[in-house]
Symmetry: C2
Subunit: 347 residues, 2 copies
Amino acid sequence: MSGDRRNSTRQTKRIGVRDVARLAAVAPITVSRALSFPDSVAPATRQRIMEAVSSLGYIPNRVAGSLSSNQTRLIGAIIPTFQSSVATEFTGGMATVLRSRGYQLLLGGSNFSVEEEESLILEFLSRRADGIYLTGTTHTERASRMLRESRVPVVEVASLDGEPIDMLVGFSNADASFAMMRHLAGCGYRKVAFFSLPTKDNERQRGRIAGYRRGVETFGLDPDPALMAEVHMDLASATRSLGELLERRPDAEALFCGGDLLAIGALFECQRRGLRVPEDFGVAGFDDIDLAGFMQPGLTTVHLPHQMLGARAAELLLDRLAGKPVAGSVVDMGFEIVVRGSTRKVR
Amino acid sequence: MSGDRRNSTRQTKRIGVRDVARLAAVAPITVSRALSFPDSVAPATRQRIMEAVSSLGYIPNRVAGSLSSNQTRLIGAIIPTFQSSVATEFTGGMATVLRSRGYQLLLGGSNFSVEEEESLILEFLSRRADGIYLTGTTHTERASRMLRESRVPVVEVASLDGEPIDMLVGFSNADASFAMMRHLAGCGYRKVAFFSLPTKDNERQRGRIAGYRRGVETFGLDPDPALMAEVHMDLASATRSLGELLERRPDAEALFCGGDLLAIGALFECQRRGLRVPEDFGVAGFDDIDLAGFMQPGLTTVHLPHQMLGARAAELLLDRLAGKPVAGSVVDMGFEIVVRGSTRKVR
DNA sequence: ATGGATTATGGTACCGGTATCATATTGCCG
DNA sequence: CGGCAATATGATACCGGTACCATAATCCAT
């Protein structure tokens, strides 16, 4: 009556530390140590344990380990969408760094909704993720509070000017956008339109708009609000919106987009309409996705180090977890205006 | 000496079920039930518990819950790369379904290496993921064995003709590729080149090559191996490889690519070289990524329901977990040849 | 009214590791 | 060669939920 098992949910009892310990003739804790901190166990013992491990096919149960050690080695990340190469490149950057340090990635998509984000955050906190990565600084009240109270390290990838919960990695969207406007103005374009992505709960897009407005004002460009539009992030919406813009303002001279995908859609639409780029019409984007450099003509855009942003965010998180208590760090990763064929040469 | 805490790793003791139970004047197990199966608790009790939960800001510890209940509600997914919109769309599809059913996604990238895949699998098994999603049917010996022995539900998204570990969702790469060859032959192209992605440990690409070869043979096309090349999955490699191809075989009439990105790179390169598509040179891709339909001319390609593939895979996994014991299911999601402007009109 | 089924709740042990502290062993130095 | 520090290993309890079975309360049909 001691060897019977009454596992209903469970299949035939799994191999555990105790089994390995018995076979290697050591205490369970020693097995645990041999696997987690090999150096803390004598070489001979370690080898005996390793042999037992492989001969039994022992797969440690990290769930139990996490409960006991109070660390999961899990990082929860929330991206707005899986459709954007920008978001997934961030994620790839993070995943690489995390894995190299023995962490795993718990990933969720918020669909650009702060409410969905909140529920994902709650989920991640429930799973006791060791750190959390968020896109942007806009969150629900409750989400921010829960994060702060949980004392979990958080990195946000966003504009520098937001109010970070904890750490923040990013660049100034407004400055980048303004820099692009300087370029466009320098090209001689006076009637510059702007397509932003949906701005709801998205302070990054709002920053880009602010930069555009500042540019319009600073360089004395056409301030007509009819030159602006909010466009969904897909090629079809972009081409459609360009059509509408050209109906409202057939005299528009250039278009700056708050995302490369929009700019690329616009570029295709220009080709279709026989609009010559950059002579008749200039186009500029934001993000510098792979494709931007391959378009014909190449897309002038704001270059951002996507993968590195993700990697840096992961490093911040892990450094913090490793005990380096850097409170409230803000890291500026900068940006770069990349001029290609879609805007006129500046003389 | 009973109320003192000696938590070193831990911060000031977290709220637990016991705290909530005390406040609601019930047993801990009742709190657990109220949260997991609300209907199994009397309404009045449930409400008292819910009030206690929110007044204490209780966040259940799923790590403990997982250990105890032996289910993590975690699905581990391995994609070859974060750079491919195909892979990330799969993932998005999965993530959506998983979340709607209360599961979370543990994501890793294998960099197209079965060895990295193996280590990721081990990691996921260690974390006791309830199910595992893999890309392809090519894995290391050890990985396959561990998966089988673990008795964890596994879905592979791959060619139908592979040998699945458990469940499989996909379509026949060879048939799809052959169907495209029929189209190309029908267009009158006789010297059709083929660019595949790296074939190492990738039976999907090999299936596509097989379909190409079968097409060449069946339709009596030029079988010169110089028409074939293996190309890395990025635009730069694609354009470079097209240049090399045209040096080897300046008389090539069309190019079929084992991935849209390659085809798009080729399309750009054709524009650059002034090659008229589809008159002088036909181009066809595989996957039908968003961009394909927007190119000028539009890219003829094999359409696949990426998101749905991911969603279907997730559903299979969850259905299995929900107790529907469908052994060794194989789901054919089909494909579709989408003819656009990059290949000649068939008369 | 009464027995048996049904529903609501609780006691207890246990999931499988690891933190913590204790003990045994070895090494080194004067 | 004794004594103390450093190193290697172990005993025990506990992490925070939930499975399992028991018990109490409620209900209904006869």
